[in-house]
């Protein structure tokens, strides 16, 4: 008998030692094994869908009760009083994330355009690799870095420090997304512009980038939305604030940190608000990113 192909050897070997090796028995066993393997794959996929259903289900069940106008417009109540909202945390999140986006977007988009339009050499490969590796740095470590870079020199925690941390976290996905989107612009656009005598910079700036604009905007917003859900890097940079504050050089409340504090607090009313906060955060982050992702896909498939 000729030895079977290398890959299928692993499956056939399962049968070899203890099933009798008449052709009929082997065929039956292979058929059965085939069904088992396929069924296991289907079950695995089902098992992956289950946690999402559970998480979203509990999130809605526990969070929707506290979802009212007051949650968005009122301030947190002092300890012991029930009610109140997270208005300051919602505004704080928008401010911290907004400033982070201002810091990260120009650099990230320029870097992405460079990689897509000029990125062929060793330098570009190194940039790509570094970007990918940087995206794996734990967010808590980035928080420690922002603490050392901003909090220590300033002498106090601040919204600015939180923005710096989030900006570092946003950078890799923005670079990656921009590069991908600029690459989608058909090569013929560039050739046409160059053939008309436009220099490289004008081709990129006036032909390629306008064509890629929608994609770049949506894809970058994805990165920004994702960063808005980060908690760890804000714990000791933006810290949190129970009062209304719009100053970026002071501690500022953010939604994720608020949820964390309220979830750990020994008051059921606070726990309930934490669930509501989590629901709002998921609606903000997940829905925005999903909508954007669908748009990106449409742009890509066009």
């Amino acid at each position: 008998m000729t030895p079977p192909a290398e890959g299928s050897a692993t499956l056939a070997a399962v049968a070899a030692p203890w099933v009798d090796r008449t052709p009929r028995a082997v065929r039956l066993w292979r058929g059965a094994l085939n069904r088992i393997v396929l069924a296991v794959c289907v079950l695995a996929a089902a098992a992956v869908v289950l946690p999402l259903v559970l998480i979203l289900g509990y999130l809605i069940a526990n969070g929707v009760g506290g979802l009212n106008l007051a949650f968005f417009t009122h301030m947190p109540k002092p300890v012991g009083e029930s009610g109140g909202g997270m208005a300051n945390a919602i505004v704080g999140t928008l401010m911290v994330v907004g400033l982070a986006a201002l810091l990260a977007l120009p650099v990230g988009i320029a870097a992405g355009v460079y990689l897509a339009e000029f990125g062929r050499g060793r330098f570009a490969t190194l940039v790509r690799y570094t970007t990918d590796v940087l995206s794996g740095v734990p967010s808590i470590v980035v928080g420690v870095v922002a603490y050392g870079l901003v909090v220590v020199p300033m002498g106090r925690v601040s919204g600015l420090a939180g923005s710096v941390a989030l900006a570092i976290l946003m950078l890799p996905p923005i670079i990656r997304a921009t590069e991908e989107m600029v690459r989608l612009v058909p090569q013929s656009y560039r050739q046409a512009a160059l053939a008309l005598g436009a220099p490289r910079w004008r081709t990129t700036q006036q032909i390629v980038l306008p064509a890629a604009r929608a994609g770049i905007v949506t894809a970058s917003m994805l990165a920004v939305a994702r960063a808005a859900g980060e908690t760890a890097p804000l714990l000791f940079t933006a810290l949190g604030n129970r009062f209304w504050s719009l100053r970026m050089d002071q501690p500022i409340a953010t939604l994720p940190v608020f949820i964390f504090d309220y979830a750990r607090a020994p008051y059921t009313d606070w726990n309930r608000q934490a669930w509501t906060g989590a629901l709002v955060l998921v609606l903000l982050v997940t829905l925005i990113s999903l909508l954007l992702r669908l748009t990106v896909r449409r742009v890509r498939d066009r």
Partner: protein, 316 residues
């Protein structure tokens, strides 16, 4: 701006300047990495000088006595990530095969959508769910059952708290499954169809053809698993909420523990002494070093299998 700036010196053209400016922006990434390394190294310096690297092997963590050892946190990080991998790898690979080889049309779209959704949920939300939903269930249902039936194993001895290593492992598994699925699926799709067709033509069953494909995709799949490991090692908020944050090494998965990331999250704001703070930053340094190595390895593996396709290699 109609007329581009005339070249002032030889070689300095608008094109050159434009390209240089963009390249400078790209170079910022190195600056960021350098800043991260410098800043953590500087913060950890006092601790490295005073305690040294023996810190990694010491069990005692006593801020009052100014004595710091990171071993319980390293243990907690490794074991919780290991539990996560044990749970997530079979499920993730099965789902990836399902998506790449079996599912079509609507079903595939729905499962992919769910996996993207899982990846988009902030980690604090996983933490809340693990704390308020999973923990009571573990405490009242799964853990007593494990103790009753497998209590003879040291792994399942002790009191069911609900909060602890097992809970952290399960939550981490849910969080890293999307990484394994999305990258493994792309890797599988990058394997030439002809390989599958050849196996089928030789009379292989579908399962056997899948095994052949898996065999060819091995490095990339390994890459996706290593990448998921990196994610699990550094995950902070969800773990902090469900692991119990107890500084001890216990063989039982039911016991509370702590990880490198969770101790930083918990104690950084309370760290009063400068050595205390520095010891925490030294933990961050170790965590950074480990995740960078793990990630560099993973990215290289995925790049190898997919021929450097950006959309796969850099996927999150």
């Amino acid at each position: 701006m109609r007329q581009p700036l005339a070249p002032r010196r030889r070689g300095l053209t608008v094109d050159g300047v434009y390209r240089g400016a963009l390249a400078a922006a790209a170079g910022v990434i190195f600056l960021v990495v350098a800043l991260i390394v410098l800043e953590i190294a500087r913060g950890a310096m006092p601790s490295i000088r005073t305690i040294g690297w023996g810190f990694l092997a010491q069990r005692e963590w006593d801020p009052v006595a100014d004595h710091y050892g990171a071993l319980p946190y390293i243990y907690g990080t490794l074991v919780s990530s290991l539990i996560a991998l044990v749970l997530a790898v079979p499920l993730g690979l099965g789902s990836a095969v399902f998506l790449a080889e079996l599912a079509k049309g609507r079903v595939a779209a729905i499962v992919s959508f769910v996996i993207e959704l899982l990846a988009a949920i902030p980690s604090i939300v996983y933490g809340i769910w693990g704390f308020f939903v999973l923990a009571p269930w573990l405490r009242n249902a799964l853990e007593p059952w494990l103790v009753a039936h497998f209590g003879y194993l040291p792994l399942f001895r002790g009191t069911p708290f609900g909060i602890g290593m097992l809970n952290a492992g399960i939550v981490l598994a849910i969080m890293i499954i999307p990484t394994i699925v999305s990258i493994s699926r792309e890797v599988l799709l990058a394997i030439p169809r002809s390989l599958r067709e050849a196996s089928l033509a030789l009379g292989a069953t579908r399962a056997e053809a899948i095994v052949v494909t898996l065999d060819a995709a091995k490095p990339g799949i390994l890459g996706s698993i290593v990448l998921a490991l990196g994610r699990a090692l550094g995950e902070t908020m969800a773990v902090t909420m469900v692991i119990g944050n107890t500084n001890r090494i216990s063989a039982s998965l039911l016991d509370p523990s702590a990880t490198m990331a969770s101790v930083i999250a918990n104690e950084f704001t309370e760290a009063t002494g400068s050595l205390y703070l520095s010891a925490l930053i030294q933990i961050a340094l170790v965590l950074f070093g480990v995740t960078i190595l793990v990630n560099a390895l993973a990215r290289a593996l995925v790049w190898l299998t997919t021929g450097g396709r950006r959309d796969v290699a850099g996927a999150t």
